[in-house]
């Protein structure tokens, strides 16, 4: 779950002396929202976002100003004038979990990834993390999600996994979360099969409660206040 496995490593970058429209054009062309700013040695010096760009452009709704003239003026500004200097970065050896928690904490949409000497080696955005999360959940593959309420005590998971394995069913993923009453947890195995009727009955026979799918929920992480 290292960042290096999920990040984009062919990074679109920009020079600090480039003009603002060049960055805008790159964002449109590559369908991206963050461009790291690097020096001639590929050392990270800042990051420019589509929000930075939009905030310096005239509103397209204002038609009484001379747009061309405004654009000419704006084109004299350089990336270094609007970029965020010293952005928050991650190392390739950070994990996906680090990135998720950092996004939750900082509300930043993408982190440049640099090596120990500050050389840019990649970028990881919310989009890349979403792809990683989809892959972790296994929902790119055909299967069926089950919801099982269990008592919060050791050994429950083993029984459930054994029961499912005995039916010769493969797991796409398995999630465990807090659920409902105190002392209860819910287990969500994503099973790579269409045929869950038998295993559902079996689990019920073992005394587990199969959750009503309409009642499923995942408790929110504690908010950082």
């Amino acid at each position: 779950m290292l960042i290096s496995k999920s990040m984009v490593d062919k990074v679109i970058t920009i020079d600090k002396e480039a003009n603002i429209f060049e960055a805008k054009q790159k964002m449109q062309e590559y369908n991206i929202r963050h461009i790291p700013v690097v020096d001639e040695n590929n050392k990270l010096i800042g990051i420019v976002t589509d929000r930075d760009i939009r905030s310096v452009l005239p509103s397209i709704l204002l038609n009484n100003i001379n747009l061309e003239e405004e654009k000419k003026k704006i084109s004299q500004f350089r990336i270094k004038d609007i970029m965020t200097k010293n952005p928050i970065t991650l190392l390739p050896t950070h994990t996906i979990q680090d990135a998720l928690l950092l996004i939750q904490k900082t509300k930043v949409g993408a982190f440049p990834v640099v090596d120990e000497s500050g050389i840019l080696t990649g970028i990881i955005s919310v989009r890349d993390l979403l792809s990683a999360f989809i892959s972790v959940l296994g929902i790119g593959e055909p299967g069926t999600l089950l919801g099982i309420a269990v008592e919060d005590k050791p050994g429950q998971m083993k029984k459930i996994v054994d029961a499912i394995t005995e039916e010769n069913i493969s797991f796409g993923s398995i999630m465990v979360c807090k659920y409902g009453k105190k002392g209860e947890r819910s287990v969500f195995p994503y099973l790579l099969t269409q045929n869950v009727a038998t295993v559902k009955k079996k689990l019920e026979k073992m005394g587990y409660k199969i959750l009503d799918p309409m009642e499923w929920y995942i408790e929110q992480l504690p908010q950082n206040k």
Partner: protein, 316 residues
């Protein structure tokens, strides 16, 4: 009364899925019995299994895949590509005969020998992709039928309605870029059901954009929700598309007594959907419908579901 074809053959029972699998030959026995016991058989034009030209299967499936499937059966493998897909030595032959029977039914409809048809076949087909067996399906029967209509009979607008409770991912994939085939599916929401596709934003690609429509329905919902969504999505889309022929992936597993889903449909709701499909078929397609069995696993309910289905094809 219409001339309705009924495809059934004892050879469709030969695909043996073992002792504990929901897709059993018992399903077909129940369906046949339901139709026979209600005295409908004498009203129907009986169609038997038939060997098709292999080329029609190869229009949809990769040659390598077809060979793999045939070899697995010949070698006596117990499953094919996933534990979901049990096979026996006769599974390949049965699957080929299912396709052949369906193509024969299509031919009879196109030659106006019959008005419409119900094809009670096994194995089912709508999950099968060009190179992949999935969810008890090996050959995508309905996709092969649609291609046959296009190529052999020159049909320009084919409408597929899939009301099996699971999304018809295979059929969607095969026609997602094809504006000549409109694929409509109503099913249990993919976050809660196999195979995990069929979301509203899947609308087709390239030239086929706008010719795929999906209605995911949350678990626990019943007739009222289905009827509302079916009118909103299927009825309006097909009114615009004006299909020349309608193919149905008829799965009965959204029934409240079927353990394979969390939907709560009554038998009456299946009839209601059929009435709406027939209404569209009469308006644009000269009544031409070929309905092909997919899922439906409640052995207690299958006789009445099949009987009502066929009754509507005959009498509405």
């Amino acid at each position: 009364m219409r001339k309705t074809g009924f495809l059934y053959d004892d050879r469709y029972l030969l695909h043996d899925t073992g002792e504990v699998h929901p897709e059993t030959s018992e399903r077909l026995v129940c369906i046949y019995k339901g139709i026979k016991d209600s005295g409908l058989l004498s009203q129907l034009t009986l169609i038997k299994a038939h060997r098709p030209f292999l080329k029609w299967i190869l229009k949809v499936h990769d040659k390598d895949y077809v060979n793999r499937f045939e070899r697995a059966c010949k070698d006596g493998s117990k499953t094919f590509e996933s534990p979901d897909n049990p096979i026996c030595r006769l599974s390949f032959k049965t699957a080929v005969l299912a396709v052949g029977g369906i193509l024969k039914a299509v031919k009879l409809v196109m030659k106006r020998k019959i008005d419409n048809a119900f094809c009670a076949v096994r194995p089912p087909g709508h999950h099968a992709e060009p190179g992949k067996a999935m969810g008890f399906c090996f050959f995508n029967n309905i996709a092969i039928a649609a291609n046959y209509l296009k190529i052999k009979w020159g049909v320009q607008r084919i409408g597929i309605v899939d009301f099996d409770v699971h999304h018809g991912n295979g059929t969607q994939k095969i026609f997602e870029d094809d504006p000549m085939v409109f694929f409509y599916s109503i099913h249990q929401h993919p976050s809660f059901a196999y195979p995990g596709t069929g979301r509203e934003f899947e609308k087709g690609t390239g030239l086929g954009e706008g010719y795929t429509k999906n209605t995911p329905v949350l678990p626990g919902m019943g007739d009222e929700t289905y009827k509302k969504f079916f009118m909103r999505d299927f009825f309006s889309a097909f009114t615009i598309f004006e299909p020349e022929v309608i193919l149905i992936s008829a799965g009965f597993d959204a029934h409240m007594d079927d353990e394979m889903s969390d939907m709560k449909l009554s038998t009456e709701c299946f009839s209601w959907m059929m009435e709406k499909i027939i209404e569209i078929a009469d308006k644009y397609a000269n009544g031409r419908i070929i309905s092909i069995l997919e899922g439906g696993y409640c052995l207690k309910r299958l006789p009445e579901l099949a009987r009502e289905h066929v009754k509507l094809l005959l009498y509405s």
